[in-house]
């Protein structure tokens, strides 16, 4: 990696933030004017949402399982194994469901977007699209943005549900808890603010995954090596952003709902 002066480095970073902000703005507002590419939005919903369902289900289910298993050890010391349902439900809905779903979808789709758009960039397909009178942001970025936000919301709900189901399986089969008691405790543990918090996070994560993936795709240069670099950067940056934004949203929600 070549060394550059601090001034050049700072200018590069500020320019990158500016380009990212411009891309985000156009990606958002494009939906409010024509032409709108509904077919592309539905295609992306299928690719991002339906395509990511297996990994989200597996991740959510086994996270719920291991959460029940690990927490039972600590709860046993206080004679509160029956509260396993509370702990699994709260952890899954408020934190692990949204974050793990975001990270898994980021790994699968931010990389996919960066490599797909990056390949189009280095083979001049993006320029060809512009030369054919089509706005690449409108055609490629906007459908991915709205499809990711919409589908991540529902994927998070699926992850929460299968996580609680996984916790139930372990609690009933290995810890000997009563199924009715587990589900009753899980249900009672959750209040309105917890659900709102858990379902607000995927909106931000979806935005981050799509915009970061598309941004690095659009900025790709340097052939196949450049595509690989963009893909890696997209996954790393979007994952880190998801965790940082998760903290900020959690703090804001605690401020609003008091828990």
């Amino acid at each position: 990696m070549p060394f550059v002066s601090p001034e050049v480095f700072a200018k590069q970073k500020i320019a990158a933030v500016q380009d990212y902000a411009v891309l985000c703005w156009h990606a958002i507002v494009n939906i409010f004017s024509g032409p709108r590419y509904w077919a592309d939005i539905f295609t992306q919903m299928d690719s991002i949402g339906v395509g990511s369902t297996p990994i989200v289900v597996l991740t959510g289910f086994f996270t719920g399982c291991v959460l029940a298993l690990q927490s039972a050890t600590s709860l046993q010391e206080f004679g509160s194994v029956s509260l396993t349902g509370n702990l699994v439900a709260l952890s899954m809905v408020k934190e692990l469901g949204p974050v793990l779903t975001g990270l898994m979808v980021s790994g699968r789709n931010a990389s996919g977007m960066a490599s797909e758009i990056g390949s189009m960039k280095v083979t001049e397909q993006i320029d060809a699209m512009r030369a054919l009178g089509t706005d690449p942001l409108r055609k490629l970025v906007t459908p991915r943005l709205y499809a990711t936000i919409f589908m991540l919301f529902f994927l998070t709900i699926i992850a929460d549900a299968v996580g609680i189901a996984g916790g139930a399986l372990v609690s009933i089969s290995l810890l000997g808890l009563n199924a009715s008691s587990y589900f009753n405790n899980s249900y009672r543990a959750l209040v309105y603010g917890d659900v709102v918090q858990g379902l607000t996070k995927p909106l931000f994560s979806g935005f981050i995954i799509a915009t970061v993936g598309c941004y690095f795709g659009m900025k790709t240069k340097g052939g196949t090596q450049g595509v690989g670099k963009s893909t890696t950067q997209a996954v790393v940056v979007s994952s880190v952003f998801i965790i940082i934004v998760d903290f900020i949203v959690s703090r804001a929600m605690i401020g609003i709902f008091g828990r």
Binding site: Q125, R130, L132
Partner: protein, 281 residues
């Protein structure tokens, strides 16, 4: 051969554009990438119906010039007018409308690899919300023009380099543009396939009289264009009788980002410039 392409004169061509005002005007255009000047003080014009061949060594800024003409990149200084509109000052949204009158053939074809040949050629027509029946008819017509109608259902990965270039030409001409930009259409192709591509360009030039800019590294392709015409009776490219030269074909030679020649074929052949003489021999 689909004579429809010949009879269908550019639907959006405006008579005011023709003859009087040049289609493309570069005025003192310069552009620098990082610290390296790529084009310096480039000025030239392309008139209606003219085919301008851009020659020059690799790395001389020819492809950059082509992208500047289509508004894909902006110059650091100078102005570029296409169909009377200043593309250097236009917003991207307005440029999309202008590009509806411009067809472009990219160096490596730049076909959309996830779309079939039919969808690639029909891309612009789909964007313009043309009815499906008309799209199909025009795609078949364009593919017949490049003699590739049998490949309509194939994907770009299933085509040879020459076939991809022909699909790219079909995609550029399907909307009946008033200006076509060919960026090294024969680059990387064998001599026989190159001649086939040049024949298509000659056919397009002589049948529709479309204004065009063409980049090439191959002098033989450039002179093939200048010395041949398309015979619509025989459907073949033929040498112009008595060693004649096509008057609508002119040359622009670039070297290290500067224009070293701007003129007709005869002026190029008769040049006294030592570098140019060495380059064309």
């Amino acid at each position: 051969m689909p004579e429809d392409l010949a009879s269908n004169k550019p639907s959006r061509s405006q008579q005011a554009d023709s003859a009087a005002e040049p289609v493309v005007i570069f005025n003192d255009v310069s552009i620098t990438f990082d610290v390296k000047p790529v084009l310096e003080n480039i000025s030239f014009t392309v008139r209606h119906g003219e085919t301008r061949i851009i020659l020059g060594p690799a790395g001389g800024g020819k492809s950059v010039l082509m992208k500047l003409a289509n508004g894909l990149i902006k110059p650091d200084s100078g102005t570029i007018r296409v169909f009377g509109e200043d593309v250097t000052a236009m917003r991207e949204r307005d440029l999309f409308k202008l590009r509806g009158r411009i067809g472009m053939v990219f160096q490596e074809s730049a076909l959309f690899d996830s779309l079939s040949v039919a969808d690639n050629v029909a891309f612009r027509l789909h964007e313009e919300r043309v009815p499906e029946d008309e799209i199909h008819a025009r795609v078949v017509e364009a593919l017949q023009f490049v003699e590739l109608e049998q490949a309509i259902e194939k994907f770009p990965s299933e085509l040879s380099g020459g076939m991809r270039r022909r699909v790219s030409i079909a995609r550029a001409i399907v909307s009946r543009p008033d200006l076509i930009l060919y960026d090294s259409p024969t680059g990387g192709l064998d001599p026989i396939t190159s001649t086939t591509i040049i024949e298509l360009i000659v056919k397009q030039r002589d049948v529709t009289q479309t204004t065009s800019l063409l980049i090439t590294h191959r002098l033989q392709d450039a002179f093939l264009l200048a010395r041949n015409h398309f015979n619509q009776q025989t459907g073949q490219m033929e040498p112009i009788p008595d060693g004649g030269i096509d008057n609508s074909t002119k040359f622009l030679v670039l070297n290290e980002g500067r224009i070293v020649f701007d003129g007709t074929t005869r002026e190029l052949i008769g040049t006294e410039d030592p570098w140019l003489k060495e380059y064309i021999t």
